[in-house]
């Protein structure tokens, strides 16, 4: 009122934010009541999701302030679609869907989870284990093969055998020298015996 008194040419279209501030005890004018009523209706429409496509800069600024004040009061509830979108975005990031995250598109949570991944890993592991068991069963244990009975020959000096190659022809003057020959035979067979025992991982 004072502002109107000071400036008789001022109208309701003047910027109320930049205009003079009326005193607190001054009664509201009819135009101020009208403006307050229209702003209240604007706030109600905004809260119900029916925000008008066009409004003045002053109304938009006031509307933003009103929205912030209402949100700060703690009683704001998001729309169902918005809530679902936020939750799905968070779960998608937890699953690791980078492509979907970058695109910003909301993917239904049932598709984003990839339920088949753990089953696929478990199935592949089971198949590999079955293949390993089958392979062991087909190949059989390792065995030692005896010469003539297989393709891997047992060393000849591990075997009991005639001593002719070791002793050779016996000269007549040494016909009774069996003591020296048994020494040679024993030493030779002991070498083979020890080697075989060591190869089998046992002490001779």
């Amino acid at each position: 009122v004072n502002a109107l008194k000071e400036n008789p040419m001022a109208t309701d279209d003047d910027d109320i934010l930049t205009g003079p501030v009326p005193a607190p005890e001054v009664e509201a004018t009819a135009s101020e009541r009208m403006r307050a009523k229209s702003f209240g209706e604007l706030v109600d429409k905004t809260l119900t999701g029916r925000t008008p496509p066009a409004m003045s800069a002053d109304d938009r600024a006031l509307l933003e302030v009103a929205t912030v004040i209402r949100a700060a009061s703690g009683n704001v509830e998001l729309a169902a679609a918005k809530r679902r979108s936020i939750v799905e975005d968070a779960l998608r990031q937890a699953v690791g869907d980078v492509a979907a995250k970058t695109s910003g598109a909301a993917i239904p949570i049932t598709r984003a989870r990839k339920k088949w991944v753990p089953w696929a890993v478990a199935g592949a592991s089971a198949l590999v284990a079955a293949a390993a068991v089958l392979l062991l069963w087909l190949r059989g244990p390792e065995r030692i093969y005896v010469q003539g009975g297989g393709d891997v020959a047992m060393p000849e000096h591990w075997k009991s055998r005639p001593t002719d190659p070791l002793i050779g022809p016996i000269a007549q003057e040494r016909a009774g020298d069996a003591s020296a020959r048994i020494d040679a035979i024993y030493a030779d067979r002991l070498d083979g015996y020890r080697e075989r025992q060591l190869a089998r991982g046992r002490k001779p």
Binding site: L138, G168, I170, S179
Partner: protein, 185 residues
């Protein structure tokens, strides 16, 4: 999803089949574990050790002028138990017989010596240098027999002929065995 499982199953089967059948170039091994009678075992080593000790014992007795004890020690070798089928057993016994026969001849017990040698030749399952040695000792025994006879005794020629035959047999066995060993090498 179904295609993925199917592909995995086919891959596993293919890998398993390749590994198990990939060495077809090698012949399928004949499973035959080592026969204990064919390898040098503890029983054979114990028997050989005993034979060695009896020979040493006889040598000590002989050096101490006790031929009877030496003969008894060598006889012990003939009664040693070897693993069944061990070729070393026949060789060791034949060598002990040759040594025993020489000791008996030295004691003038020629007939007993001939018996020891003859039994050894008869019991031998194969020709060996030890059998050839028995024939050599047999020739010596025939010579000893001839030496014990009167020079005019007609058996002298018989014994000398037998000695020559025994030496020839010994040489024949040695020749064949040496030829065989040369071919094996």
């Amino acid at each position: 999803m179904k295609y993925w499982y199917g592909s995995l199953l086919i891959a596993v089967i293919a890998i398993t089949g390749y590994i198990s059948c990939g060495n077809d170039r090698e012949p399928t091994p004949t499973v035959r574990t080592a026969d204990p009678a064919e390898v040098i075992g503890e029983d054979l080593m114990i028997s050989l050790s005993k034979a060695k000790n009896f020979h040493h014992k006889a040598r000590v007795y002989m050096s101490d002028g006790k031929p009877a004890e030496a003969i008894a020690a060598v006889r012990e070798i003939l009664s040693l138990k070897f693993p069944a089928g061990a070729p070393e057993a026949e060789d060791v016994r034949n060598d002990a017989r040759a040594s025993l026969a020489k000791l008996l001849v030295g004691q003038g017990n020629v007939e007993e010596a001939m018996k020891v040698v003859t039994e050894g030749i008869a019991q031998s399952q194969r020709e060996s240098f030890f059998v050839a040695n028995l024939y050599t000792v047999k020739g010596e025994i025939h010579e000893a027999r001839a030496a014990l006879l009167e020079p005019t005794d007609p058996n002298v020629k018989v014994e000398k002929r037998a000695a020559i035959e025994a030496y020839d047999k010994s040489n024949q066995i040695n020749t064949v065995l040496q030829q065989r060993l040369m071919e094996e090498r």
